[in-house]
Amino acid sequence: MSKKIYERPILRKVVEGIPNKFGSLKRLRPISKIDDVEIDSIMDTYGSPVFIISENTIRNTYRSAYRAFATRYPKVQFAWSYKTNYLDAVCRIFHQEGAWAEVVSGFEYEKAIDNNISGNKIIFNGPDKSKEDLKIAINNNSLIHIDHFDELNTILELRKELDKQPQVAIRVNMDTGIIPQWDRFGFNYENGEAWNAINRILSSGLMDLIGLHVHVGTYISTSKAYTIAIQKLAELANKTYNRFNTLISYIDVGGGFASQNTLQGAYMPATDTCPSFDDYAHAITSAMNEASFPNNEFPTLILETGRAMIDEAGWLAGTVLANKRLADGRRAMVIDAGINLMFTAFWYDYEIYPLHETSFQSEPTTIYGPLCMNIDVIRKNINFPLLNKDDRFVIKRVGAYTMTQWMQFITYRPNIVMIDANKEVHVIRKKEDKEVFRQQEEIPKHLL
């Protein structure tokens, strides 16, 4: 006779009180496959933990975002936000789908060029552009989004030695009702600084002002902020036309669309509250259509959506290292993926699922990463099934900012694999080993 499946004995007190707003706890259904590929087989081959990226999900998400905007507005262009995930394989999928590149450093600029994006399809944002970076960007006809007057002056200086007319836009910050107001980037609208910058650029005659750029913030869960931003940019475009007879050819509304990850402290899960691409598209394109731009010409609408485009396509599979009880009796689980891989766990309540059905019971659990640090917490409190040591789990929606903000701290960074449309698995970033670090370090002679 075969033996019964074992799970740890539990004893849970039934607490009286008002039931929570979501009713009784739903059981966590295990997730054992991604795009029909067994997660177990990926982990057996590529180790644990391992990041898994779904090419199908990236393409489908991009297409639904593009469809939402392109069916509502005549001229739409997406630019892939490199900082969100700059793995070459990921960037190339977006470029194949038609996205330009949006970069914020010389390093990201080099990556975009290596990914065969032509210079005039690279948007160069951010406050840190060296003289050398700017020189290359000007020569490549890239779209330089000026962040501050010092940068503007550097471009004017460079113009003396270069033959090319720089193609520039200015980044504008403004009050759109979003708090905190991101006023550290670009020129302020309300105090007239943005208008001053436009005057300086156009009265110099030394560069072409072709766009206006705004980025209202990050994880924007109300689409109305974009409406206000576009109205203000249209106002600037009209003033520019009236005074300089210059047409603004594009409006870049940046990124900031929320993904379906729930922010810590949020009252409702983000899957219920997060605006869809259609919600954002409706607000943004309605504002673009209603705003009267000079000459009744519609400028191109550029979007730099990052998080909402890639979060869903990323997964992190890992293994339970240990279970323990904390001093107050709460259950704690230690897993092999910590904040070194998911810096984002500081602000998200990630959804975590077991790979296999192991237990019909669940317990309030704190999930810790493997680091020797008290702050290495992946979930502070989650009702989680009673997984045992060596059981496997998978974390959902980890495509954005994890693989760019991760830290090499205490341990090596793991493999990143991608499942393609034919369900084939490819390594797109190899796991690190001691040689990776040896290459970078040098030992002075007297310590050899």
């Binding site: 033996k3 019964k4 499946i5 074992y6 019909f360």
Partner: protein
């Protein structure tokens, strides 16, 4: 009457403690252990019973059993 015998325990793991009015839930293995405790079995014997009936090794069964016994003690259910 021993503390354990004073508990009202249903077949599906619902436990009522008349002395305090508190209720608890346990799972199949928890129920199995409580029944063995009530029949006077010692920890070592219970471990043997568990590994005979369930897919588990000696070490894990022992570790989990002692943790469960601590819970029972903490809730004042055992003597």
């Amino acid at each position: 009457m021993s503390k354990l015998n004073s508990l009202a325990i249903s077949e599906n793991g619902f436990i009522f403690k008349p002395s305090t009015g508190e209720s608890f839930v346990t799972n199949e293995i928890g129920l199995f252990i409580i029944q063995l405790l009530k029949s006077g079995k010692k920890a070592d014997e219970i471990i043997q019973e568990i590994i005979k009936d369930f897919e588990v090794d000696n070490l894990t069964a022992g570790k989990d059993l002692y943790e469960f016994l601590d819970f029972l003690k903490k809730e004042n259910m055992t003597d």
